[in-house]
């Protein structure tokens, strides 16, 4: 009984735990291209998209979105379809 309760709690926590959509710097992708992709994929304004693009360029990475796994995976798929270096990672709680 105790084991069952623990298992259920763990599953619930894992399912609900947020994930980050991270984009990494790449010396080849054009800044204008990356900005365009962020606008298309996330519906960001030019200003928001540019801010994230510059964060990627200067800091090496930017967290574009945080939330449930299924949607995060969808965003990663979209970003890879534009050939950006994007990864999914568990958000720190």
């Amino acid at each position: 009984m105790t084991t069952e309760t623990l298992t259920q709690t763990k599953e619930k926590t894992e399912i609900g735990a947020p994930w980050n959509v991270v984009v990494h710097n790449d010396p080849v992708n054009l800044m204008s291209y990356v900005t365009m992709v962020f606008k298309r994929v996330f519906g960001y304004s030019t200003q928001q998209a540019t801010r994230h693009m510059l964060e990627v360029h200067h800091k090496g990475r930017s967290v574009l979105w945080t939330g449930e796994r299924e949607r995060a995976e969808f965003y990663i798929q979209q970003l890879h379809s534009y050939l950006l270096l994007a990864t999914l990672e568990r958000a720190e709680s």
């Binding site: 054009l30 204008s32 995976e73």
Partner: protein
């Protein structure tokens, strides 16, 4: 070479110099991975930061990776069909509006594949283009810059229209 965005959203490249025609015609070979692991790894990078995320990786490899391969292949077919017209008319090329996204994708595939194949660094990208292309690597760098110039023109054209 001149690039113009037309009323219907298509782009016309005119007065293309023979060297640039050759560089355009080499796009299909540039995106061919030819079993090069570095190229494959760049075109199809890992979707996770940690290799311990085996469940995500397994699902990705099963469902998403084949879709991406098909997407890239289909875009390449569209661009190759457009390029075939260059053979008959080497100094002019029209990119139909419906094909612009495929071109953006394939130009990026080509840039990334060449950069991976020749280990292009940030310093290489910032350095001025060599006046004389002495070896395959210099040619690849020129290709990367020229394809980037084309991407930039297409993006500007699309965005000025959207605006």
């Amino acid at each position: 070479m001149e690039i113009e965005r037309n009323e219907d959203g298509s782009f016309t490249l005119s007065e293309i110099e023979p060297t640039l025609t050759e560089i355009l015609l080499s796009i299909p070979s540039a995106i061919e991975p030819e079993g090069d692991e570095k190229v494959l790894n760049r075109l199809y990078p890992s979707p996770v930061s940690s290799p311990a995320e085996t469940e995500v990786l397994q699902e990705w490899n099963e469902y998403v990776a084949p879709e991406l391969r098909k997407l890239f292949h289909d875009a390449a077919v569209i661009v190759k069909d457009d390029l075939d017209r260059l053979v008959d008319e080497p100094s002019q090329l029209t990119i139909p509006a419906a094909n612009v996204d495929a071109w953006l994708n394939v130009l990026n595939q080509a840039r990334l594949a060449l950069a991976a194949r020749y280990d292009v660094t940030e310093e290489d990208m910032e350095r001025p283009i060599a006046p004389v292309l002495n070896d395959d690597r210099e040619v690849a760098l020129f290709q990367i810059h020229f394809y980037g110039f084309l991407q930039e023109c297409l993006i500007k054209g699309i965005e000025s229209h959207d605006f």
